[in-house]
């Protein structure tokens, strides 16, 4: 009598656990759905918006990365999931972070130009000569 009882409890527990597990499994696979992310990167300055080739795209916190091609396009080499953050950067522009959602498949990213001025002073080892002596 006792034995049967135990078995029946075990059976229902097993079924219940199975149900939970399958729910977990399905919802998990739904949440962890991995997707390929493609996109294009552009740069915007005061006067013009143009494609950026050679812009860096990387997954935050990892060294998974790629660069945009001559048309400014990229396909991220690793499948991404919801919540991942892609970082976009290019010399002279402010970097931008984009959070991946379920719906992300194509990203159009516009980086804003930073306002640093371009300067250059030459290094010289030429010996100084007073103006007075140059005459």
């Amino acid at each position: 009598m006792k034995t049967t009882k135990t078995i029946s409890v075990n059976k229902s527990t097993f079924a219940f656990l199975g149900l939970i597990l399958s729910i977990l499994f399905f919802s998990n696979s739904f949440q962890a759905q991995e997707m390929e992310v493609k996109g294009v990167v552009k740069g915007k300055s005061e006067s013009i918006t143009e494609i950026l080739s050679g812009a860096t795209v990387y997954l935050k916190g990892t060294n998974d990365a790629t660069s945009t091609n001559r048309k400014g396009e990229f396909t991220f080499p690793k499948k991404l999931k919801k919540g991942d953050v892609l970082v976009f950067s290019y010399l002279g522009y402010k970097r931008k972070q984009v959070k991946i959602t379920e719906k992300t498949s194509f990203l159009s990213v516009v980086l804003l130009e930073d306002d640093n001025e371009m300067l250059g002073a030459l290094n010289s080892n030429k010996r100084f000569k007073s103006k007075r002596l140059k005459q």
Binding site: E46, G54, T56, S67, L119, G120
Partner: protein, 335 residues
Amino acid sequence: MKKIIFFLFVFFISNCFSQQSDFAHIDFTAADKRAKSYKSRNLLKLNQFTYKLTKGFKTDIEKFRVIYLWITSNVSNDYRLYALNKRKRDRFEKDSIKLLEWNSKFKKKLFKKLLRKKRTVCTGYAYLLKEMCSVVGIDAKIVNGFGRANGMEIDDLEYPNHSWNIVKLNNKWYLCDPTWASGTSYPEEGKFIFDYNNGFFLTEPNLFIFNHYPLYHEYSLLKSVPSIKEFAEKPLLYGNAFNLISEHISPAKMHHVIQKDSTFTFQYKLKEKIDLNKVKLIFVNAANENNIKPKVIIHNNILTVNHTFKKRGYYDVHLYFDKDIIATYVFKIIK
């Protein structure tokens, strides 16, 4: 109480006299070898390249050293870009909108050249260093300001002309100038020659201020920052100086008026021992040029050079260690 004061004192001292010497115990041989052996035709895959370049190095200082040395031995100074930018900036000096437009246009040109051909001007070096550092998680900033090279007068210091970097290592900021470390430009011949100068790597703030005056004073990393006028009046130091001395003690100014037969003292703290016989002063006046062996004393790494001026007149006085020009001063000797 005495103990506390002692500790404060030690703390203060260790904070003052420590830049390159903070890392004196670190052997950069492996980092330098890596930097020298890695080649890349272009920098279009900057992220991957930087990872590969620094792979295996554990500390930030070593990673930074590899990146810094790689940039300074592979990116050349583009004189044509420099000249073009200078011409346009001079032309649009009074027209801020046009200057802004030019800056934006030039920036694109500059970064294309940098990524494809590895050629640039100062700000390009500074950007690249910052960017590569950020790939490996090192905090670096671009600093804009006044770079003082030969022939620059105070009138030239109206607009900033140079960019360099500060970098945070072990929670402390340090100075460096990848542009001037990379080599020397010969504008007349339109060429650039790689000639790495380690003197601009984590330079002492007290010495760096001789030819780098930042727009924002805190980037000088000094507690007390000279005025721009004081900066322009400092003695002129050459690249070699940064390699050979760690402190320029005196004189504080470049131009001097002194009396005949008085003795003048120059004083420097040396990074390493030098051959005292090779210290010389070269006097140049309108008529001729004279080599002079001055009286030289060295004590506790402090080099003291004394000279008594015997003749009246105007002189440019250059300090040399062997063939390397270190500094220039200008004297008017009166009766």
